[in-house]
Symmetry: C2
Subunit: 282 residues, 2 copies
């Protein structure tokens, strides 16, 4: 699975590599490689595999598109007018290396590529529903842009905020995996939402505990954002994370590989608990 | 045609209006309404009409998507890290009114909406080719992002720069209009390229002469960008604009409404010549 994800990302970037202005191409590659855990494409792939009979090029393309959108949101969220983050994934943020203009353009390019990639590599019959799914997950109504934009409102409705900022791509991952395997998407929403909720708590834990994936800690406090650890304490947050994961596992619809998928969800979840908290709250 | 374009843009924004964080919704509407001449959707519509038998919802949706991408590029190009433009379309730029974070997010949202809109409203069978067309016109290989990114390179290859920055959406307009009418796109590329070239010269003329559409004049000189007036003088640039328009008219492929479309192209072109130069160089 890992290799397929990296290869799909390479295919998505091939036109820019071949024809684009070199510097924005470098900024785009810097934003995409090396990746984090590639959780969203892994999830889409795991759902498609659990259902069985999926169109493999569509699964790979859709997974890459999810990751490109995720990378775009990281690059733009790190910009000086938002978090002004110095580091990301354990290395300097894109704008610290490539400058603000190229970081902004790299983010724009990654959004475009996420959609273009589906038109190039997904099964044409699935293209409209996958583009719609990706658009909803990315957009200003309830997607990534909405999540970031809630931070500009005078008060932040915490559920809508988290659903938009984090869960949206997880829902797209489970639903897109189902679509690629020829199943209706709706039954797979709940699993994605619960996993997204769990991941949001995990992100808050990493922010509060500082042993995250190369992001500076304490950013939520600095930017006045709601944080689960502030609300429930570290152990309370870990308990909540495990609850959400159990709900996500329970929400896996019946399918050929449902048991394996449930086990995978629980396994993924343990990686989400910061190492310093794994024993205390287990 | 005008009313259909505005209605299609309203439809594209309906989900954000209904569900999105209010402030980013306001910034998006501010970027889209009131519009400029809506040249790109008009062009796509004119091509579809000249061919005849087009799927009207697809023509309207694709035109709106072109305009949304165009608006996105204006909002991002005006940001402080690029032109830091105070005005656009005769009113303060988006970031001057809504602040930099919401302007950046509005641009991101407009890119997403351009694609999502096709999935929502275009004929599903045309969705893959239209998404591909839009992606190419927007992206970092040869589209709008590439155009802006060439400005970050140590030297700017002028033809690739103009093709990416301006012609790309004109090519998408003529080719998308053809696809919506069930014709292969390739025959319509040349017309779009020539019109794009003409429009680029017109943009340079407005920049140099200062009677443009509410943008501050002299920005090319300030930012060290190539400008046709600097290269050939104002009269030389007008002559070149008219040459490109004549070539665009000549490049209209044979179709039921070819003569009307050729006349429209020439008519559009006269509007592109700044008023102060219309007589002198006619």
């Amino acid at each position: 699975m890992s290799q397929r994800i990296e290869e799909a990302l390479e295919r998505a970037l091939s036109e820019v590599d071949a024809h684009g202005p070199p510097q924005v191409g470098h900024a785009i590659r810097y934003a995409v490689f090396p990746g984090g855990a590639r959780v969203r494409p892994r999830l889409a792939g795991a759902v498609a595999e659990a259902i069985g009979g999926a169109h493999a090029p569509t699964v790979d393309a859709f997974g890459a598109s999810l990751e490109l959108l995720h990378c775009a949101s990281l690059v733009h969220d790190d910009l000086p007018c938002f978090d002004d983050a110095a580091t990301r994934r354990g290395k300097p943020s894109v704008h610290r290396i490539h400058g603000e203009p190229l970081a902004l353009l790299a983010g724009d390019a990654l959004i475009v590529l996420a959609f273009e990639n589906l038109a190039r590599f997904a099964a044409p019959s699935l293209c409209p529903s996958l583009v719609a799914l990706l658009g909803r997950a990315a957009g200003a109504a309830r997607g990534l842009v909405a999540g970031q934009a809630w931070e500009s409102e005078p008060s932040i409705p915490i559920e809508a905020y988290h659903r938009a900022k984090t869960s949206s791509l997880f829902v797209a991952a489970t639903q897109g995996g189902a679509l690629a395997a020829g199943q209706p998407a709706e039954a797979w929403r709940s699993m994605g939402e619960r996993l997204g909720d769990a991941y949001q708590v995990a992100d808050d834990l990493f922010d509060a505990c500082g042993d995250g994936d190369g992001k500076p800690a304490g950013q939520d406090a600095v930017h006045g954002r709601p944080n689960a650890v502030e609300l429930w304490g570290a152990e309370g947050a870990v308990a909540r994370l495990r609850e959400r994961v159990a709900e996500a596992a329970a929400a896996v619809p019946e399918c050929a590989g449902a048991d394996g998928l449930r086990a995978l969800v629980v396994h993924m979840a343990e990686r989400l608990v910061p190492a310093s908290l794994r024993q205390t709250a287990a």
